[in-house]
Structure formats: structure tokens, C-alpha cells
């Protein structure tokens, strides 16, 4: 696994269309001129459309990752396809069976020339052919055999993708992977239904890429350099709206009896808008922009609840030599907030574009960027102190990583997952899903029905509905009833849902698998690149109604 800090060396050259200005901070200290027309490398061109999303540093992490695909199914192969195309480092297919005619109908990565041959080999070859950059490997052994005879087999992977397991094997595999701290993505695709279950112990995300990022401008409590700039700059029609807004904020504040810092409700915001409107001349674009910005310009900079939880986490309190650098940086950040910054986050240093003349905009931008660098520098030195205390080398954490960490402070996220096996025990997360003796909604019911299907496979040794739709409904119902009873509920799954599951007779439909496989592939990419938030922890999709839900089980 490539360490985060090494990867971030590339961060300065990345471009994200939505936040290119973010990256400028990282390069703000670079003074040497860029080389003449640095045309992109061949690989960089091939992956251009995705590097625009997760950056060169995300791509580097993806190319360093290896995954294992347990069982060759359509949903498994479609997931793998979604990883081979963007250039994952490597994949290993594990399947002990041979290709049969009935496997060809729904799987694009098997063909008739492989009938009678190893399924793992066939799918490995046809998948690898998609992208020569990727290392493909295969093991023609069943997962049961591997768990029994080569229990360490899975330990070296960054993640395991599995599908089409019976209940017994699912529990064995998921427990084994939980013990060895390897994330598991378990996919189901049956008839018109699909699910994805992510089992991961801990997942730390620095770059969550929120869809609508809030700019953190500190207008309520300007930092020293900003305060000086605001005081010494005349507000004209050529300056950024931020200066306009600040001027009238001060006027508005003087009218407030109770010492309000910033307008925080509809009425107050309208008052401030009126103050600006009253004073502005026609065609003052920056004043118009200031009026528009009233709604969004205030409020950021405080500690969100997710970050509070990170600060209170035991992993943040008790650093060890083995601590993930995320936690070392988190502790340094916390110390900076409490001791050096009045409880405020470090400044992200990102300014939205504002109509203004070049000099006044760039001057303001530099003030924000400089402060962001200063804040990050303080956090960096705290990181170095902790590294010293832990007797870790100073280059364990570099400045660039800390700058990124500080810029993203408001969105830092730690996910703590649950074991799949817990779903089969009585636990508090399951009860809210039940209502009046019925499983609460249709999608949840299907998730339980699919589990009943897997128990049926374990107990009966054949697929429910294999010969006729009706023959196995009764048995499936008994199993589902017992399963829910064991969880401490009298809720039932409707006969219609069980009938539908049985009607499928084990059919895996390609398009449902392609939908689930596409989603699953992106979840894997999120986990290995540590960017964007993955599901927490069960995604359920119903292709009949085109609905989906995510449950925390």
C-alpha cells in the first residue's frame, strides 16, 4: 500500500474542474516556472477523464491496489470490469468451478471456447484483455477450499469482492476478513434485486468532495491579516463583493442591540440586503453579488459533529507507533484548534470567484492563501512533535499532506463498520427496521428475503425455485420466519416477496448485475483512493420499482 504522503507529492499538479482553486494553495509556494508545454504522459491521457475527478494522487493509489474476486458471476465480473478499466493495480480471481453452457447467457467475460475449462482462468483472461496495465491472476479453487486450506490467502489484498455465497460460507469468509482487517464488498444479484454490503473496520476520508462545498470566509471574526486588509481598503465598485459585504455588515451590526455577530435568520439577512441595496448605485455588480452572497457567506469555520467525533475518538487520544497518519494529523489539528485558533478550523484558503479588478481580487486571494499556509504550518509542526514523541521519522508526514488535511478539515470523516455476522445476531440496529409485525418497507424485506435465500442454499443444497416457482415458497417462508425469529422479532416477510424470489429460480440477470457491478466498482475505488464517502453499509436496489435505499446494518 502506498503511503498517503508519498502520493500527495503529485497533488499539486492535479486539476479538478469543480475546485481547481483548492489545488492552487498547494502550489502557492512553488516559485519555479513550469516547464514548457508539459504534455501529459500516455497513461495520464488514457485516464484523463477520471483523473479530473480523483486526481493523479487518487490514480496512483488505485494503481497500487490489488483486489480478490471470489466467485465468477456476472455481478462479480462487472465489478471487476469497473476496476480493470480505470487501471487498478491487480486482481486475482478465485473460483473452483468450470465453465458450463448456462454460464454464458449473462456473463460477458466467459465464452463458448472456455466450456469445460476453469472459470477463474477464463474470466481472468477476458478481463485482463480490457487493459494491459493491469495484472491479472487466478486460483482455480473454491472459497471454501481456500478458507479451509489456505486461510492466509486473502490477507494480502486491499479488498475482497464476493458474490453468490451460501450463508455458511458468507459468515466464514466475512469473519476471516474482519479478523485480518481486509475490507469485504459482498454483492448480490438475483432476478430484479441487487444488494451491496460493505464490511470494513475503519475507513478515514480526507477528501470527501462534498457536492456543494461551503466557502469558509471568516467574515464574522476576520483573522488579523484580513482585518487589516478590510480596514485599509476603500470599497469601490471594482473590489470583490467580500469587501462590500463586510462594510455593510459592520453598518448593520451597529444597529443590532444584542451584539449579533452575523445575520442568522431570514429577517436579519433581509435587513442586511436592504442596507446594501439602499447604498448601492446602479450597475454595481459587486454590490449585487454581495446581496446574493448574504445567504451563504457566513457560518463556516466551526467544528462539524463528524469532526468532533473524530477528536473524541480513542484513536485520536491514544497515538501509537502504529497509528494511521490520519489520526496523528487529527490530534495535531485538535491541538491547533484548542490552543492556537480559538476553536476555529484552520483556514481552507479558498476564495470563490468574485467580479472585481484583477489586483484587488488577487490581493484578497493571497491573504486567504497565506493564512491557510500559516495555519497548516502550525499543524505540521505539531505533527512533527507527535512523530518525535512516537520515535517515528519526520518524513512520515509531509507538509503537503498536512495542507490537504487542513484544507479539508470541515469534511474529514471516519467510518466505523460492522461485521456481517452481527446481522445474524440480535442487535439494536435491526429493530427499527421492523414495524407492526412486518418488515418495514419493501426494500428491507428483499434484503431479508435474499438472506433467507442464502440460508436455503446452505440448508437445502439447491436453489429455491430451481424447477418450479411454487415448489419452494413454503420452505423459504419457514426459513425466513425462523431467521427473523432468531433476531428477536415476530415480523414476517410478505408471501409476494418470497414468491418473487422463488420465481427467479436463481436467475442472475445481466442488466441488474451491471447496475450493481457499476455501483460496487465505484465503492471499491472510493475505499482504495480514500476519496468520496462509501456506503455505510448496505445498499439495496429493486429494479422492478427502480428504487434503492441504504441501511446501516
Amino acid at each position: 500500500m502506498v503511503a498517503l504522503e508519498r502520493v500527495l507529492e503529485n497533488a499539486q499538479s492535479q486539476y479538478c474542474p469543480s475546485d481547481n482553486k483548492f489545488t492552487c494553495i498547494l502550489s502557492a509556494k512553488m516559485s519555479s516556472p513550469a516547464p514548457k508545454s508539459p504534455e501529459l504522459s500516455d497513461k495520464s491521457k488514457k485516464y484523463d477523464r477520471q483523473i479530473r475527478l480523483w486526481g493523479e494522487h487518487g490514480q496512483t493509489l488505485l494503481e497500487a491496489a490489488t483486489v480478490c474476486l471470489v466467485n465468477v458471476t456476472a455481478v462479480g465480473c462487472e465489478t471487476a470490469k469497473g476496476l480493470v478499466l480505470p487501471g487498478i493495480g491487480g486482481f486475482t480471481v478465485a473460483d473452483g468451478s468450470t465453465v458450463k453452457e448456462e454460464d454464458l447467457g449473462n456473463n460477458f467475460f466467459l465464452d463458448a471456447s472456455y466450456i469445460g475449462k476453469s472459470k477463474a482462468l477464463a474470466c481472468k483472461q477476458l478481463l485482463q484483455e480490457l487493459n494491459p496495465d493491469v495484472n491479472g491472476d487466478y486460483v482455480d479453487e473454491s472459497v471454501d477450499y481456500l478458507l479451509e486450506n489456505r486461510p492466509n490467502f486473502f490477507d494480502s489484498f486491499d479488498l475482497v469482492i464476493a458474490s453468490n455465497l451460501n450463508e455458511k460460507t458468507l459468515l466464514l469468509l466475512s469473519n476471516r476478513l474482519w479478523e485480518s482487517n481486509v475490507p469485504l464488498l459482498y454483492c448480490r444479484s438475483l432476478g430484479m434485486m441487487g444488494t451491496i454490503r460493505l464490511q470494513i473496520r475503519e475507513h478515514c476520508i480526507v477528501e470527501a468532495h462534498p457536492d456543494n462545498p461551503q466557502f469558509d470566509l471568516r467574515l464574522a471574526q476576520p483573522f488579523h491579516a484580513l482585518q487589516e486588509h478590510l480596514n485599509s481598503t476603500e470599497v469601490t465598485s471594482k473590489v470583490p463583493w467580500l469587501l462590500v459585504l463586510y462594510k455593510y455588515l459592520r453598518i448593520w451590526q451597529k444597529e443590532q442591540p444584542d451584539g449579533h455577530k452575523t445575520p442568522n435568520n431570514y429577517k436579519e439577512k433581509n435587513q442586511l440586503r436592504e442596507v446594501i441595496r439602499k447604498e448601492m448605485k446602479a450597475d454595481e455588480e459587486n454590490h449585487e453579488e454581495a446581496i446574493k452572497a448574504v445567504n451563504t457567506a457566513f457560518g463556516a469555520g466551526t467544528v462539524p459533529s463528524a469532526l468532533k467525533a473524530i477528536f473524541e475518538d480513542e484513536a485520536c487520544e491514544l497515538l501509537t507507533k502504529k497509528s494511521n497518519i490520519f489520526w496523528i494529523m487529527a490530534k495535531a489539528l485538535k491541538s491547533f484548534l484548542i490552543h492556537d485558533n480559538n476553536g476555529n478550523l484552520p483556514l481552507p484558503g479558498v476564495l470563490p470567484d468574485m467580479t472585481a479588478n484583477t489586483d484587488s481580487y488577487i490581493a484578497l486571494q493571497n491573504i486567504y492563501r497565506q493564512q491557510a499556509l500559516q495555519d497548516a504550518d502550525q499543524v505540521y509542526h505539531k505533527c512533527q512533535d507527535y512523530l518525535k514523541q512516537l520515535s517515528l521519522p519526520p518524513d512520515t508526514i509531509d507538509e503537503r499532506s498536512v495542507r490537504l488535511f487542513c484544507r479539508e478539515a470541515a469534511g474529514l470523516t471516519v467510518m466505523r463498520g460492522t461485521r456481517i455476522a452481527e446481522e445474524y445476531e440480535r442487535n439494536s440496529r435491526l429493530l427499527p427496521l421492523m414495524e407492526e409485525n412486518e418488515v418495514q418497507d419493501n426494500l428491507t424485506a428483499y434484503n431479508f428475503a435474499l438472506r433467507a435465500y442464502e440460508r436455503f442454499l446452505s440448508e437445502c443444497g439447491h436453489i429455491p425455485g430451481e424447477c418450479t416457482a411454487e415448489q419452494d415458497i413454503g420452505r423459504l417462508k419457514t426459513i425466513a420466519g425462523k431467521m427473523l425469529g432468531d433476531l428477536g422479532t415476530h415480523a414476517t416477510i410478505s408471501d409476494d416477496v418470497l414468491h418473487e424470489i422463488s420465481r427467479y429460480g436463481g436467475a442472475e440477470l445481466h442488466a441488474v448485475s451491471a447496475f450493481i457491478g457499476g455501483c460496487a466498482a465505484q465503492e471499491v475505488i472510493k475505499i482504495v483512493t480514500k476519496q468520496y464517502k462509501p456506503i455505510d453499509n448496505t445498499f439495496i436496489y429493486n429494479a422492478v420499482s427502480t428504487e434503492s435505499v441504504t441501511l446501516k446494518l
Binding site: 492535479q14 486539476y15 474542474p17 481547481n20 492552487c24 502550489s27 513550469a34 514548457k36 508545454s37 504534455e39 501529459l40 488514457k46 484523463d48 477523464r49 477520471q50 479530473r52 475527478l53 470490469k81 469497473g82 480505470p86 487501471g87 458450463k100 453452457e101 448456462e102 447467457g105 449473462n106 456473463n107 463458448a112 487493459n131 430484479m192 468532495h209 457536492d211 468574485m354 467580479t355 472585481a356 484583477t358 481580487y361 488577487i362 425455485g465 416457482a469 409476494d496 418473487e500 427467479y504 436467475a507 440477470l509 442488466a511 441488474v512 451491471a514 447496475f515 457491478g517 457499476g518 466498482a521 465505484q522 465503492e523 468520496y532 462509501p534 455505510d536 436496489y541 422492478v544 427502480t546
Partner: protein
């Protein structure tokens, strides 16, 4: 073409169909009311159905695979593009050695080789190269396009194919349903359109994000972003210095290199940071980020709707799915509503509100047609029938001689041009294969106020 294959491994009783046959030959509690479980369903997909896929790019490659493996035996695909290196991270039917070849032909060849139960016919052409008689042969049309204009054009084509009964109702046999998918980064949508019955592309034009255009004065005088510097070089310096003596080609690395260097100089001059080669390329080519996963998901959602509609096994989605997986996985399905004032599918002339006919120039009208969210036309040509019964072309930009002859009309007011309140204008535009009729409505502001 509909003769069943003599090879039993490819026939309807081949074990490859076991899974699909459970779905198509068994009754179920959630099936559509008029679904008849029968072996005829698979036979229809394999030997009778005919589906057109428009676009063989990110969505198109996935759609071809999905439909071939969902039992469809006869697919056609249209794409005018050739394969580029940056396609390979998601357009999985293409390899490095295919760069420069036709997407449609290459994709068809790959599917025909891998899935012997499916025959794909490629068309290395533009959609505008075909007329009604071509589009009429299909049961369904699926779109995987990246161009809004092309989507609007095919939407207009399918609407123009509708036949109306005397009482104004639509002859059901003239309807060709359209399933449309679109993606951008981690976001996508899929929708089902029954032309004339449910919301069409033009009904929901406002769903498309507006294009980002930087004001020219910012670009020229007060640049603040690296993008402003790139636009300056592209719009002003390129023509002035004409470095290679040819128009700018976003695919020529020499051109991008030149723009990169000039943009960097300009950025340094203004103390603007953040110019990178990738940014320059993105601005010049209007690049939209794309990943394999989103294309796979949206194409699968479209393929499922094609399958539902072709077999009647389940009700179609009603009618618009939004997807995004930036934060977890999110889907939302809702019914986009048909617009009564839709230019394309309302089947009646739409009013064009004009404030004062004596101050509104023809140029103002054209600007309105291009810029208002309701119309969003590209280069409209306007004709009308004057009071004396004579056909008159008011403006047309696409034919040089007519443009020159009608240019003087642009600065004239509607009153000066002799256009009356209630007069009908016939408008043609690249966004539609057919002309639309707009009726002038004068004093529109006063009417609104009263």
C-alpha cells in the same frame, strides 16, 4: 434474418437462456397486469425485436453488451465518432489498436464476436443522415449521447413520426418509445419517453445545466482565474497571432501546447496561479469528466427499461431516474411532467410573447430564442407568410447568400418588418429535424399585468 439459428447452442432451448426464461416464462406477483408468461417472449427478443442504440461511446458500449445479454437478437448502432485514447478508460469494447477506427463498427464487431446470439448492425454516420423511414423500423430507441442538440433532434424526429387520428388522439402504432441516458462524472440520469404521452426532452429543457461562459470584458481586462487566461488566448491571441495558420484544433497537442505557454505567460503577468496542461485542455475542449462506473449504472438502468417495455414483464419506470454516488449511492425516481407549453410535443402553435413590436428588433427575437431557458435554440432560421400571402424569409444564417440578403432585417423592429400581432413564424433550427410554429403575441407584458 428472423430464421432461428440452426446451432442448438444458440437456439431458444439452449441452457444459456435458463435464467432469462425463469423471468419470461413464469407468472409473478409483481408482473405487469398484461404480462403473459410464455416462451414467445424470448422468441420475440431473439427473432423479432429490433432496437436502435444511438451512440457507441461510454453508454453505447455498455448498452450493446447489456441488451445482447438480456436476450435481444437484433441491434443497430449509430455513431459518427472515431476512437480516441481517452475513451479507453470506460469504452470497454475498444483497444489501443482501434484508435482512429469507427466506434460503431468496432463495437458491433466485438459484440458479434462475443455474443453469438446477437447481431449488431453498425452505422458510421450522423443521426441527421437518416430520415423517418429509417427510424420507423425500430420497436425502441435507446440514446447514450453526450450532446444535447442530438438528443433534441432525435426527440423531434420521434415526435414528427406520430400520426394523429381525426379526434386529435395519437395513433398508438406510430409511437416509437425512447429511453435516454446521460452521465457526467459521478452523476447520471435515465428516463423513459413515450413521445406525445409523457414528458419529452423539450418539456424538461431546464434540467440541462447552463453552459459556463465568462464575460468577454473579464477575460480581456480583469482576469482572476486561470480559466480566464486560457479563454483569452483562445478567443483573442489565437486569431491575432495565428501561430500555425489554421483554426484551433483541441486534439492537436501542438495547439494545446501553444495555448498552455501563452496562458501561463498571461497568468504570470496577472499573478494568477493554477495553469496546468490538463486545465488548458479541459477549457479548450469543454471536457466533461467520465468514469466507467457511472456509465455502467446508467446504461444498465436504461437496458432494464428497454427489457421491461419489450417484454411487458414489469411496469416501466415512471419516468425519470437520478443517480449519484459521490456520497454513498443515491437514486431518486420521479415523474417528470409533460409541459403544456412544450414547443415539440404539445402539437399546437406556441405563443411568442413580445413587449413592444416597435422597439423589439428581429435580432432581439433571435436572441430570445437562443437564450431563454424555454427555447435554447442554436441558430434559428425564421420564415413567415405575409399578409399578401407571400412566403418571406426573415433571417437565415446557415446559407451565406441568404444570410447576406436578410442581415439587414436584424436591426429592424417587428413593426417595421410588417409583422402583425398573431402572425405565425416558422422556425427551423439544428435542434430539431422539423420546423416549429410560433405565434407572435404583442403587448405581452401588459396582458400579464392585467
Amino acid at each position: 434474418m428472423t430464421v432461428p439459428s440452426p446451432n442448438p447452442a444458440l437456439g431458444l432451448h439452449s441452457k444459456r437462456w435458463n435464467g432469462l426464461r425463469h423471468i419470461l416464462e413464469r407468472e409473478g406477483p409483481f408482473c405487469k397486469d398484461d404480462f403473459t408468461a410464455s416462451a414467445d417472449n424470448l422468441d420475440f427478443l431473439q427473432t423479432k425485436s429490433k432496437v436502435l442504440i444511438i451512440g457507441a461511446g461510454g453508454l453505447g458500449c455498455e448498452l450493446l453488451k447489456d441488451l445482447a445479454l438480456m436476450g435481444f437478437g437484433n441491434l443497430h448502432v449509430i455513431d459518427m465518432d472515431t476512437i480516441e485514447l481517452s475513451n479507453l478508460n470506460r469504452q470497454f469494447l475498444f483497444r489501443r489498436t482501434d484508435i482512429g477506427a469507427s466506434k460503431a463498427e468496432c463495437a458491433a464487431r466485438f459484440i458479434n464476436g462475443r455474443v453469438p446470439t446477437c447481431r449488431v448492425t453498425p452505422h458510421f454516420k450522423k443521426i441527421q443522415d437518416f430520415d423517418e423511414s429509417f427510424y420507423q423500423q425500430f420497436h425502441l430507441i435507446v440514446c447514450g449521447l453526450d450532446s444535447i442538440v442530438a438528443r433534441r433532434w432525435i426527440n423531434g424526429m420521434l415526435l414528427s413520426m406520430l400520426r394523429y387520428e381525426d379526434d386529435g388522439t395519437i395513433d398508438a402504432s406510430s409511437i416509437v418509445p425512447m429511453i435516454d441516458g446521460g452521465t457526467e462524472g459521478f452523476k447520471g440520469n435515465a428516463r423513459v419517453i413515450l413521445p406525445g404521452f409523457t414528458a419529452c426532452i423539450e418539456c424538461t429543457l431546464d434540467l440541462f445545466p447552463p453552459q459556463v461562459n465568462y464575460p468577454l470584458c473579464t477575460i480581456a481586462n480583469t482576469p482572476r482565474l486561470p480559466e480566464h487566461c486560457v479563454e483569452y488566448v483562445k478567443l483573442i491571441q489565437w486569431d491575432k497571432e495565428s501561430p500555425f495558420g489554421v483554426p484551433l484544433d483541441g486534439d492537436d497537442p501542438q495547439h494545446i501546447g501553444w495555448i498552455y505557454e501563452r496562458a501561463l505567460e498571461r497568468a504570470n503577468e496577472f499573478n494568477i496561479s493554477g495553469i496546468t496542461y490538463r486545465l488548458v485542455q479541459g477549457v479548450i475542449k469543454h471536457i466533461i469528466p467520465a468514469v466507467a462506473s457511472t456509465n455502467a449504472v446508467i446504461a444498465a438502468a436504461c437496458a432494464l427499461e428497454v427489457f421491461k417495455m419489450a417484454t411487458s414483464c414489469y411496469d416501466s419506470m415512471s419516468n425519470y431516474l437520478n443517480f449519484n454516488d459521490l456520497d454513498g449511492i443515491y437514486t431518486y425516481t420521479y415523474e417528470a411532467e409533460k409541459s403544456e407549453g412544450c414547443l415539440a410535443c404539445s402539437n399546437k402553435p406556441q405563443l411568442l410573447p413580445i413587449g413592444d413590436a416597435n422597439t423589439t428588433t428581429l435580432e432581439d427575437v433571435i436572441k430570445l430564442l437562443c437564450e431563454s431557458p424555454r427555447f435554447q435554440l442554436k441558430s434559428p432560421a425564421l420564415t413567415t407568410v405575409m399578409k399578401d400571402g407571400k412566403q418571406r424569409t426573415l433571417y437565415m444564417s446557415t446559407v451565406k447568400s441568404i444570410e447576406e440578403a436578410t442581415r439587414k432585417n436584424l436591426t429592424q423592429s417587428l413593426g417595421e418588418l410588417g409583422l402583425q400581432d398573431g402572425q405565425q413564424l416558422t422556425v427551423t433550427d439544428p435542434t430539431s429535424p422539423t420546423a416549429m410554429t410560433l405565434q407572435l403575441k404583442y403587448h405581452a407584458n401588459e396582458v400579464e399585468m392585467s
